[in-house]
Symmetry: D4
Amino acid sequence: MDQERLNHLLHSVAEGETSIEEASNLIKKLPYEDIDFAHIDHHRSLRKGFPEVIFGLGKTAPQIIGIMEKMIPQESVILVTRVDAEKAEKIIPAFTDAVYDPEAKMILLGEQKPTPNAKGDILVISAGTSDIPVAKEAHLTAQAMGNKVEALYDVGVAGIHRLFAHQDLIQKAAILIVVAGMEGALPSVVAGMVCRPVIAVPTSIGYGTSLGGLTALFAMLNSCSSNVAVVNIDNGFGAGYMAATINRK
Amino acid sequence: MDQERLNHLLHSVAEGETSIEEASNLIKKLPYEDIDFAHIDHHRSLRKGFPEVIFGLGKTAPQIIGIMEKMIPQESVILVTRVDAEKAEKIIPAFTDAVYDPEAKMILLGEQKPTPNAKGDILVISAGTSDIPVAKEAHLTAQAMGNKVEALYDVGVAGIHRLFAHQDLIQKAAILIVVAGMEGALPSVVAGMVCRPVIAVPTSIGYGTSLGGLTALFAMLNSCSSNVAVVNIDNGFGAGYMAATINRK
Amino acid sequence: MDQERLNHLLHSVAEGETSIEEASNLIKKLPYEDIDFAHIDHHRSLRKGFPEVIFGLGKTAPQIIGIMEKMIPQESVILVTRVDAEKAEKIIPAFTDAVYDPEAKMILLGEQKPTPNAKGDILVISAGTSDIPVAKEAHLTAQAMGNKVEALYDVGVAGIHRLFAHQDLIQKAAILIVVAGMEGALPSVVAGMVCRPVIAVPTSIGYGTSLGGLTALFAMLNSCSSNVAVVNIDNGFGAGYMAATINRK
Amino acid sequence: MDQERLNHLLHSVAEGETSIEEASNLIKKLPYEDIDFAHIDHHRSLRKGFPEVIFGLGKTAPQIIGIMEKMIPQESVILVTRVDAEKAEKIIPAFTDAVYDPEAKMILLGEQKPTPNAKGDILVISAGTSDIPVAKEAHLTAQAMGNKVEALYDVGVAGIHRLFAHQDLIQKAAILIVVAGMEGALPSVVAGMVCRPVIAVPTSIGYGTSLGGLTALFAMLNSCSSNVAVVNIDNGFGAGYMAATINRK
Amino acid sequence: MDQERLNHLLHSVAEGETSIEEASNLIKKLPYEDIDFAHIDHHRSLRKGFPEVIFGLGKTAPQIIGIMEKMIPQESVILVTRVDAEKAEKIIPAFTDAVYDPEAKMILLGEQKPTPNAKGDILVISAGTSDIPVAKEAHLTAQAMGNKVEALYDVGVAGIHRLFAHQDLIQKAAILIVVAGMEGALPSVVAGMVCRPVIAVPTSIGYGTSLGGLTALFAMLNSCSSNVAVVNIDNGFGAGYMAATINRK
Amino acid sequence: MDQERLNHLLHSVAEGETSIEEASNLIKKLPYEDIDFAHIDHHRSLRKGFPEVIFGLGKTAPQIIGIMEKMIPQESVILVTRVDAEKAEKIIPAFTDAVYDPEAKMILLGEQKPTPNAKGDILVISAGTSDIPVAKEAHLTAQAMGNKVEALYDVGVAGIHRLFAHQDLIQKAAILIVVAGMEGALPSVVAGMVCRPVIAVPTSIGYGTSLGGLTALFAMLNSCSSNVAVVNIDNGFGAGYMAATINRK
Amino acid sequence: MDQERLNHLLHSVAEGETSIEEASNLIKKLPYEDIDFAHIDHHRSLRKGFPEVIFGLGKTAPQIIGIMEKMIPQESVILVTRVDAEKAEKIIPAFTDAVYDPEAKMILLGEQKPTPNAKGDILVISAGTSDIPVAKEAHLTAQAMGNKVEALYDVGVAGIHRLFAHQDLIQKAAILIVVAGMEGALPSVVAGMVCRPVIAVPTSIGYGTSLGGLTALFAMLNSCSSNVAVVNIDNGFGAGYMAATINRK
Amino acid sequence: MDQERLNHLLHSVAEGETSIEEASNLIKKLPYEDIDFAHIDHHRSLRKGFPEVIFGLGKTAPQIIGIMEKMIPQESVILVTRVDAEKAEKIIPAFTDAVYDPEAKMILLGEQKPTPNAKGDILVISAGTSDIPVAKEAHLTAQAMGNKVEALYDVGVAGIHRLFAHQDLIQKAAILIVVAGMEGALPSVVAGMVCRPVIAVPTSIGYGTSLGGLTALFAMLNSCSSNVAVVNIDNGFGAGYMAATINRK
């Protein structure tokens, strides 16, 4: 129930068109409907800028298809994350416009208008080739949310000169997403080069003391650069979403 | 905002005494006012059965005195936990009826009527002498909340026969709080002897692999008895509070 | 050996019908027979209210069938937990009345009379769709133990208003089981809304820093609400059992 | 060396005023001077919007005074973090305009012009009274960096209704910093209520399984809301800095 | 080279039967041969009491057969641990007398004479049915090393009375091996009942906070009974070997 | 209640001297009296061979004096562990025969007769000078329990030749206690040299990755020698007690 | 851009052949071109002494073949690590000279000239048979990098005399790589015997408290010998590479 | 015992000058005498190049003075590490030539001749000002062992250009020691710039997720550069010692 509908109802009470009992009953449900309404409103504003997302892991192909079908009437863009190739093959044929990205393991459906008055472009940087799937998830998520996204892959700190070859790209980004596994040092180095917000994404890439990404995570949280905040291990989607949230005017 | 007040408001809209804008504004805030109202009610019911609690750690004596003074008009019983003797000496003289228990490191003020229709008595069992402060915190909390509480201290699993000497006490308890550090085995053993709920409290007592109580905690969560649930390490207050909550009709 | 049998024996000694040696031998075994006897009695009282439970994980279908067959003459209700669909298919046909719940991965056999004088209904709340199997295990266990159980699924803290839409259900529950993975925040929020005991169940749902459920577990143990106690990760059965234990008069 | 100075040098080479050898020597040093130059430029842009910061922990009062004295000619605002009261007493008298905040344990010197074209206001929310020092550090940092900052303290998830009483404040913030220890649930709940970026700050407040803030940290990284990114435990300064970075046009 | 052979050599030098050069050459190798000799001697004394053991995990069937074939001429008893049924099927036919125990996952070859002057019998106690494979490994190892071993399985602490039913067996054991997973409480309880050495074996049985056996291990190391020492998680072989070492006069 | 007393009671029932009711009441208490009786007997056997021990940590000097005074009439030897020098100074004057060992931080009172028919001598080996306090605790405990104990200190694995210089001492020990911090390698090396039981004691000596002794503990549990069992970190007392238990015929 | 080219450019500016704008643009890019140039030079020196390495894990056979084909024109030696037998079978036929080592799981292509003026030979020592694959990886890497490498396998600390039998080999090595799992004690013992640098490699061999190699790693970092440095768990390649780096004049 | 002495002994046996028993006893001890001899030789070579080191932590001033006095006749250089200023003040006056470095917390006594034929200079790089004490410990140790050592402090990865300003120094070092706390990224970056061995030293500097240096340690072990090996947290001495060991011809 929005402002307009509420005013309309009160008007009709004032006009005697609606009885007090009737109005009271409608309004009595308002608290939760209103919260719901707030939620719906919130959702609507989200829908304007942001697609809906389904976490695909642990869901069957039919379950994902079912959820997607219920969403299509309401959403302009739908993302499904963490879908392996085998599962994707069963889902894609069910929707004319669905596209599967095998690297990011994401399904995308529909198209997003660019965010109006965005701060600028988002740049996704990743350290090693094995980090690319997570970087791609961030990339596609931010893009699907209406952002212009550029990518700079495979520029780990062991060959720091590779970063400098791309100074221009790095300096002109409004927001940077930096993806790294193993020692997780890249976000610190990049954040030291720019004065823009850096979203750091640790990946579970590595072995031994990489501890499934915890080492990269902890290193990033200890960054000596202060323009860094961190998301969960392998959470490319979250990084893309956060960057898109920041990029909105 | 209750039904009556809402009807009154709508009436006044119908009568033209309240403008639509004014009414709309009042109703817009309804969801959270209603929650607040529920909250106050909830608080009132709490006050009937349960004392207010101040976590004393990290608060200065004057701070605690200040909070207590603000509470006295509203509360019949006040508990302050984790107060060392030195700090207590500064607080106690400020209140005629305040009592300090040096073992439990708690200050109690006021008196609680017995919980009506309680399930029965609460029994606090502890494994070692070093666990007694935590056990005492549980004991005094549950007692302050209107329960009859009995205590059975220093009956660790290394002399399991000591438990059996108190079968009667153990069997007749409605709820049991079992406090243990080190290997944390006592709750499992006790829970295997009764069919009543057991609240297990791990303590930070021990050294080396006791890991500050984590070992006792994990052991209790792995109990092969199913009538056990666990609270945080050294959280005697929480165990007493939970037991009192269960004991209420 | 109960009082009556002991008196009878002593009588027959007094009457000279039983020799001192014979009596001495019988009484010498008394300690452990008595404990056993207590145990049997204890068991009997359990059987009245509570079903027997088989932990299915790591047992073969024939092993489970064997144990169930031995139990049937003695038990009115039998639960088997952690049985996957494939294994269940081999077990179910062996018993006329056995039912398999694929979500909870439980087999149930027999029927339980409602707990007399129960405190009230048990409400199972879960945060995400992935937490439902654990929630269902808690639900079916408490139900099999003679309780009326209600369920409220998929009301995670990221959309806190969804909880409020069910205030009535939440406020009228006598005991609440709250199941959550990832950040494990739901039990704190729910416990802050009620003055009833809350059994919190962390699940292993999540990735990266969820650490297989440890993060949810630790968060729940750190709850700023005091009417919360916690069971092991994914231990829906234990939560249901504990709630049923609490609910008994 | 900027563009202008380089052109000037080349001109004077073309004019024969500077020998090739001389020019070569000047330009040979360019790479690192240039990087340095980039750095200086970078610094200058930083200085425009951002103050310099001294991490006070482990530094003596004379050391801090020395560093501050060297900075004063170049910086318009100087922050010193993690300074206890005793140390501050020795530092403050050395500077006419230095101010010490005993809660945030920060020294501030100088004044900052408001960030032009900022996205909006920053709101700092904290869960418990013990979290306030960290919240204050975030608050003062963001403020010193030219932002309008509002504060909402002591609104933990165990009394979720307290949050709702401040819906207006929460909804109108451009960026939110949410500070919480213990179970670390507040950022998830707040992020679920808004569509703005949330910077989550775990604190080391708690005991037992709070694990010095790791539990809150992990919980925040597992947030089921996607508009959340996290900084290090107790890193109020970093959160304020990151929020200010985001808030800049 | 033993004392006798060395004396014989020196004699023959004294008698002029062996040249100094020849003797020198033999003795020159003595340091490492002697160490080797010590090793061989050590081995021989081991062989008198103890069988040779092959850790089967990660070795192929042909590799195990090869090692066994080389050992047969020198050893009276051969043990192979951690052999799954499939691998065992390929090994057993290669040796006339080899026996496979599918529970303990061990292959045994040959027969051991009883340890002379042993302290007494070894008793293996295990907590749950799932702990039996580890208990069996301990049992068969100690037995193969010439000890009389008794077993008491499935006597966990949740039904402590089951232990008491076997007081006689427990009291008469010279050395006790106690195997338990989950909360690992059984060794503490048993050690409190006897004044004999208890070797505690944690198992990886459990889920959630059992942490793959670490919880049981830490609990056992924190035992409040002092006559307990612990071996690695699931190390039934080590416990059997240690008990046999202790049992030797 | 022993056999004799039971026969006497039954006799007096047969003779009509004791009423059935009276006899019944006496026998009803038998289970736990019997366990108690067993316990007393058990205690008596302990007292014959083993001293009583007070864990001094966290107890005040008056508390320790009080406990010691109650024990003196019943015990021939009393040990107090973990007593710092300052506390010891207050305790020692209270007892004529009490002796304080400042390295082991133990108080000893009274004298123990040698264990009859002991397996042999106990040898305590320690790796570094910092491990000596723990080694001394083991030494004095085993000695106080009636054993002949020898010591070999400061023979760490970084100078493995130092061990070999003491081959004789090592080879003739019946039981070895090996104390080591840091990498905890010494027990493995020593156990590889002997065929006797080795009790390994990790110490909290070290820094960085010594993790307060956990690294040494884990290394010892992973020993590739099988004649090793381990006690808790810094638990010299437990090692001495376990060695003495093993050494008893 | 080297000195010569810069002088040439300035000359042509002086001569009016190059415009100031053109020259300015070329020089502006100098910083990063120079770094790049340094990098190329650096690479060239690398190529002279060191082979290129492909981390095979997680790459498909076609991917590896593709990378190898691109490298062949530029590299004299190519290493591929972590290639299982199945994958190797698909890669080997694609290259005439490629060789697969099934133990080290490495593919080698091409031949390396010996390092000129090397410090000496590298010795690889491993503790158990299960550690051999990691040892082999170190061995082949160092060898492929032009070093003379010797191997000493299966000389664990539980039979320390086996080490002494190879004193000569150990004493004459210029650099030692010591590979060990489980308790990780071998590097300490070896480093105590020599005055040469020891590279320690922990392996993930072990179970229970070996914690996937963390225990061996921590033990090695706590080595009481100071001539030890450590690489990641199972990182045989890194150890071989580091040893070769050290061995270069 | 060398060849000559053995021949001499056998001769005297052949001549009847030495009895067989006597000879036998001498030869029996041969293995360990020989090891001892090797050891003495080993020690001598150590003394030539390397100073003796006393770990000062936990030792009293008189204890340290005592050890130093015993060493002076035998050693040309003595190092004492981890000595705080207060303790140093008591030690320094006892020796004419002893020097105390308050940053490195080391005492140095005597002078070392330069390592002949050293590979080159050692460069110590540290990330933050707080890491300097550890860097200084490495610096002074390597210097005291006869090396030329240069230092480059405060060049953390957040301002990566600072490193490039010192390319010359970095490129010409024969061995690099890189000291860093917090995210521990510096060694990876430096090692990517050089083809020389890098010894990485994690420090315990940082808070929250720095986990007392474990994060830096794990990050360094996960370095994507292969010419890196790591020592224990804060182990500046070990790094200096290892670098000196490598630098020796």
